[in-house]
Amino acid sequence: MIVLEQLLNGVQFGITLFLMSAGLTLIFGIMGVINLAHGSLYMIGAYAAALVAAHIGSVGLALLGGIAAAAVSGIVIEFIVVRRLYERDHLDQVLATFALILIINQGASMLFGRQPLFVSMPAALSGSVTLLPGLAYPVYRLAVIVLGLSVAAGLFLLIHYTRVGMLVRAGATHRQMVRALGVNVGRLYTVVFGLGALLAGLAGVIAGPITAVQVGMGEQILILAFVVVVIGGLGSVRGAFFGALAAGLVDTMSRAFLQMLFRHLMGGSNADALASGMSSISIYLLMAFVLLVRPHGLLAGKT
């Protein structure tokens, strides 16, 4: 039963990672921009939702407020900074978005202080349900899984069956041609960046009640999202989905079970130290292994 429970936790974490890495993948795949400030958008989503929840108390409004704040910030960032970086090399993009992180993080700690905000579970989702005899699972985490899967499905439909999706796919591989056909590429980029920001914000909103909302929360998950993107294959949203699930499962399972495993093999304190070290790097080991086997990731898109 505990295995099943941890599996579900892994899926839930994987879905949060997917929302992050899908945005990164879209922005990189279509616009060729590497956006380190993606984690800041996650943080903005989490803060906005936490503030709305604290002052108004409505779960729905908190959700909307969080994703709206992230999307608007994303569009503003695209308009002011990222727009000027499309033609520049990746180094400039990395550095400019690194500077954005410094600004946004410091701005957040000036506005809201260094103390983490704690967000209470929405009342309707705070209980747990019995999935199987002996397995009670928190409703909130189930809701996250359902929400994430439906967002993934929606994203899939959007990319494969709509006009915007068609342009997005075409823009990823044949940017010049799309431009030559008279598509307003500038506006398309703004829309895609806003969509990526929205997904990051959504990830931040749903992570709020599970982890504390604090300055710097975005960077930890940003790096994991990078790992996911590398595992899944750059530029492939489908790859990001499977990569995120794999990473979420490996991370959660190793945190849950490595300690037990090592305790069987060796003395207590050694086992604990080794297990905590191994479980925090397990996700990176997974990445190294995938790279050894497939240097371009599991489902490589455009490289």
Binding site: F28, I34, V81, R84, H90, L91, D92, V94, L95, A96, F98, A99, L100, I101, L102, I103, N105, Q106, G107, S109, M110, E219, I223, F226, V227, V229, V230, L234, A273, S276, G277, S280, I281, Y284, L285, M287, A288, L291, L292, P295, H296, G297, T303
Partner: protein, 341 residues
């Protein structure tokens, strides 16, 4: 105008560039040598420490520039090697202090020369391992992978409770050297100056050697170099390992300067700062990383003295520099002084 006079004009221009360059370098070297004396005259002792940090970061930035500026490999994990070098010094010192051995095999040491050599070796080995995996990719995956590996090293040291974990490792005193007292701050400054000068000259030799030209060639046009018969992977890996060793040297010096190492040394924001130094000063130029490191350390110190929220201003300044300048301070300097490279 005849071609003859064109040639003489070109030759004159070349020689004037050379003399003004050599002149600038001589002034810089003289200023660096005289710094402790000047500090004593103007009674601002904290400047020596500041200059020491600038020199140490300059070594790390110069080494990063070899891969980033000359090799075109945008690595976002350079701080990992900086931290590995620092921890090598810290761990050796701890085993020296409690008279035990690392893994029961390697005895500790408080000799600066041994510690630095070990740090460079460990960092080089780390770079060989990480580089051999990361260099299977290029471009953006390379950026992300180096970042992820650095993060892996970071978490490894955070979880190493035997060596301080999160809190880091203190050294009670600086390492010792035969015939030279490295414990005094002024002496330590000169030590770092010599190390930085050596690393600078070494890098200058490397980039002007056949190896350096191949490295630059690979940055400019990999396919053409491959057609000539150059194996890109090997050249890049060697450059990556040299850069790792340089960061290890800087890390070892920093550990001795602060008498403290912590996982912060290899935090990914440190990698970002090192990249900033290189780009700020001018990637792919020899003097650029020196200028960049000096500017960055100065900027941080000045801003942090002014306001608690210095990162906000730092971010704005960096953003402005990235957005507005191309080629960093080195280009700006040579433009101002009328020299074009």
């Amino acid at each position: 105008m005849t071609s003859d006079s064109l040639e003489t004009r070109a030759a004159e221009r070349m020689s004037s560039i050379l003399t003004s360059r050599i002149g600038m370098m001589l002034v810089a070297v003289a200023a660096l040598l005289a710094l402790p004396a000047l500090v004593a005259v103007f009674n601002v002792p904290s400047v020596v420490g500041l200059a020491t940090q600038m020199l140490i970061y300059a070594i790390a930035a110069i080494s990063l520039n070899l891969v980033l500026g000359y090799g075109g490999m945008v690595t976002f994990g350079h701080a990992a090697f900086f931290g590995l070098g620092g921890y090598t010094v810290g761990i050796l010192y701890q085993h020296f202090a409690d008279n035990s051995a690392f893994l029961g095999l390697v005895p500790g040491s408080d000799s600066l020369l041994i510690a630095i050599a070990a740090a460079m070796l460990v960092s080089a080995i780390g770079a060989a391992v990480i580089g051999s995996l990361s260099l299977r990719t290029s471009g953006v995956p390379f950026i992300m992978i180096t970042l992820a590996f650095a993060q892996m090293v970071f978490f490894l040291f955070v979880s190493l409770k035997a060596y301080g974990g999160d809190d880091g490792l203190m050294m009670r005193r600086r390492d010792v050297m035969p015939f030279f007292n490295a414990r005094g701050d002024t002496n330590y400054y000169y030590l770092c100056l010599v190390a930085a000068a050596c690393w600078f000259v070494l890098t200058a030799c490397i980039v002007r050697s056949r190896f350096g030209f191949v490295l630059s060639g690979l940055r400019q046009n990999e396919r053409r170099m491959a057609a000539i018969g150059v194996a890109p992977y090997r050249y890049r890996l060697v450059a990556f390992v040299i850069a790792g060793a340089g960061a290890g040297l800087a890390g070892a010096l920093m550990a001795n300067y602060l008498r403290f190492v912590s996982p912060d040394m290899m935090h990914w924001t440190k990698s970002g700062e090192l990249m900033m130094m290189v780009i700020l000063g001018g990637a792919g130029t020899l003097a650029g990383p020196l200028l960049g490191a000096a500017a960055m350390v100065l900027l941080e110190t000045l801003l942090a003295a002014q306001t608690e929220n210095w990162q906000l201003y730092m971010g704005c300044i960096l953003l402005a520099i990235v957005m507005l300048t191309r080629g960093g301070l080195a280009t700006l300097f040579s433009r101002l002084s009328g020299i074009r490279s």
